[in-house]
């Protein structure tokens, strides 16, 4: 399972969109409910799921989902069933 596949249910639940297909290119501009409050909720949910603690620096350059995934990988996150 890829990181995107693993995290997709979290995106769907935070943005209240059961059909949301998450892609690397997707950003807040493409999702109706992706405002700053939901962004923080997303981050906290992803922290809970991955067990990682994300600092402000980690969160500063995330213009799209691809940046987010790369950041999680660089912090050592391995998706379920991989590795």
């Amino acid at each position: 399972m890829s990181i995107i596949e693993e995290l997709q249910p979290i995106f769907r639940s935070v943005f209240e969109d059961t059909g949301l297909i998450v892609t690397r290119e997707m950003s807040a501009n493409d999702v109706e409910n992706w405002d700053s409050l939901n962004h923080i909720t997303l981050i906290v949910e992803i922290e809970l799921h991955t067990g990682l603690t994300l600092t402000t620096e980690d969160l500063m350059n995330l213009a799209n989902v691809g940046d987010f995934i790369d950041m999680l990988e660089s912090k050592g996150f391995i998706p379920n069933g991989a590795g």
Partner: protein, 325 residues
């Protein structure tokens, strides 16, 4: 995207009989530059610009645009670094807010720790804290409402005092120092702060607005100061929550003000930040302390940062008071 429609519609609320010359937020050059930088790094903050414009219209936009023009000019490097600072400042405090919603307490921190981590830390102050606060005066709804309250409830009362001497205690960015100097042409302001970086930022602000001749600064911890000359107006915006004992500080402010003088005092409530120590849970707690320090409250405003999303969510709030002695 339907965002464009949202702010045009929002604008129309303010100016519906002038459709042919409807302006858009994009028409404000300096706001637009800042918005582009912020949204390229933090796209989820885009709504903040549009919401403020829809709510407060061209008054808000022209004041904000002017602020950015005077303070940053066309120096794109400085605007870019302020945009990064603002984004980081917001992420920092929003993340702490999620934690606060669960613990209902601020992280345990002493005043000495906050001072060394924040006020005496040049990189943090100039990189994140001061640009964050400066931009928040326009992009955070409750901060902008506070500015409008100041304009309506305080400035007309001071206009009756000739050559007012104003003390701004905890100047931070110098935002309010500059507002006094700009609105009251015969005023003199002294800025007090324990952070050389806040004083440096304020000096830069006052210089760019060309008010240096009417401004002085004093470095030091206000709690340890023996101030003899009293002022006509005392200003202390968002300092109380940074202290271990705000009542001592308020008594200090009171002793710096002449009898019959005016004050503008505010505090953040339920608003965790890297340097917020004293937790106010509601505006009454702030009002009570202000009265304990022998001020009389003339007017007040209490404003939430945003509508709570779910019942039970605690939202950062600002309480501001016009007082007299």
């Amino acid at each position: 995207m339907n965002r464009e429609r949202t702010y045009v519609a929002g604008h129309a609320l303010h100016d519906y009989n002038a459709i042919s010359k409807v302006k858009m937020i994009e028409d404000y050059k300096y706001i637009n530059t800042l918005k582009e930088f912020i949204c390229s790094k933090f796209p989820y903050f885009m709504g903040g610009f549009d919401r403020q414009y829809a709510k407060f219209g061209d008054d808000w936009a022209s004041a904000f645009n002017k602020e950015l023009e005077v303070f940053f000019g066309s120096d794109e490097d400085r605007i870019q670094s302020a945009a990064l600072g603002y984004g980081a400042f917001c992420l920092d405090s929003m993340k702490l807010q999620v934690e606060f919603n669960k613990t209902l307490e601020y992280r345990n921190k002493t005043y000495a720790e906050a001072s060394s981590e924040v006020y005496q830390n040049r990189d943090y102050m100039f990189g994140l804290y001061l640009p964050g606060i400066l931009i928040s005066h326009y992009l955070w709804e409750h901060h902008y409402v506070q500015l409008k309250f100041y304009e309506k409830e305080l400035i007309p009362r001071i206009a009756e005092i000739s050559n007012p001497l104003i003390y701004d205690v905890g100047v931070g960015t110098g935002f309010y120092t500059k507002e006094y100097l700009r609105r009251l042409k015969s005023s003199q302001v002294t800025g007090f702060d324990m952070s050389p970086h806040s004083l440096g930022h304020t000096e830069m602000m006052v210089e760019r607005w060309d008010f240096s001749e009417r401004y002085q600064s004093r470095l030091g911890d206000i709690l340890e100061r023996d101030q003899t000359e009293v002022c006509d107006v005392i200003n202390s915006i968002e300092v109380l929550e940074h202290l271990e004992n705000p009542v001592d500080f308020l008594h200090g402010l009171n002793s710096m003000l002449r009898t019959g003088g005016l004050g503008f005092i505010s505090a953040a409530i339920n608003a965790p930040n890297a340097d917020h120590i004293y937790l106010y849970r509601n505006a009454d707690e702030v009002a009570e302390q202000i009265q304990t320090a022998d001020f009389t409250i003339l007017s007040q405003t209490v404003d939430q940062a945003y509508e709570p999303r779910k019942p039970g969510d605690i939202v950062p709030t600002n309480a501001a008071f016009v007082v007299t002695k």
